[in-house]
Symmetry: C2
């Protein structure tokens, strides 16, 4: 098994709201979609990002849909300046996200904040990690 | 904000066990690491995959670490044949994963199964989705 992720799927309780956030507000281009599924190809082309109803995703994996609280997973968006961290967080908030952590300087010498998408998924927006892939 | 994920981070309750699964058993090459953090660069180079302690990840985002049950997120590994689906699931199981769903033919014409890594993160191993990025 190679170090690869073909698809990151977020199970969503309100599909229309989640689709609106990523596709309409953030403007991510749809590669493929169906009534209950939307797929965006991430930059680089090696990984897709999809939204699918929470209960149906659990059913697909044959696990219980019950779940609450911290989900253990975060996604990071790495940019080249503190100014861009502030701007991206503001853009996400404008699009309907909640700011979970205002950006601050970190112990590792960076600068980062977090937002939660309308479904509660946590995104870190960061700069300073120069050896990690930049999102822009 | 572009359609990009710089880093997928999985919060793990047993860091050593999770590192062993991905790095030692599956053989994913370490790009950078620290005592409580390991980073693998996924193929394509646009996204990194990191493991970090569950409670510290929650603390970094300033959210409660309390959480249980279905996490809402799945990762998919898309291959070119049903034989490879079976083989990758067997490889993951051999490495310490649990098979959550034995592979079967799907309503969308594919063939897929799921495993859970030692921390319970769900991976779908699938074939048949020819328009999605292949992992191998």
């Amino acid at each position: 098994m190679n170090p690869q992720v073909s698809i990151i799927t977020l199970g969503v309780r309100n599909f229309a709201r989640a689709r609106r956030f990523y596709v309409e507000e953030l403007g991510w281009p749809v590669d493929q979609e169906d009534h209950n599924w939307v797929c965006v190809l991430l930059g680089g082309g090696s990984t897709a990002f999809t939204l699918y109803p929470w209960d149906e995703l659990a059913e697909d994996a044959r696990v219980s849909p019950d779940g609450e609280g911290f989900r253990g997973v975060t996604l990071a968006y790495n940019v080249r300046s503190e100014k861009r961290v502030d701007e991206v967080l503001a853009e996400a908030e404008q699009a309907g996200a909640s700011i979970v952590k205002q950006p601050e300087h970190t112990a590792w010498g960076g600068y980062s904040g977090y937002f939660a998408d309308p479904e509660g998924y946590l995104w870190e927006v960061a700069t300073g990690a120069t050896k990690l892939p930049f999102a822009e």
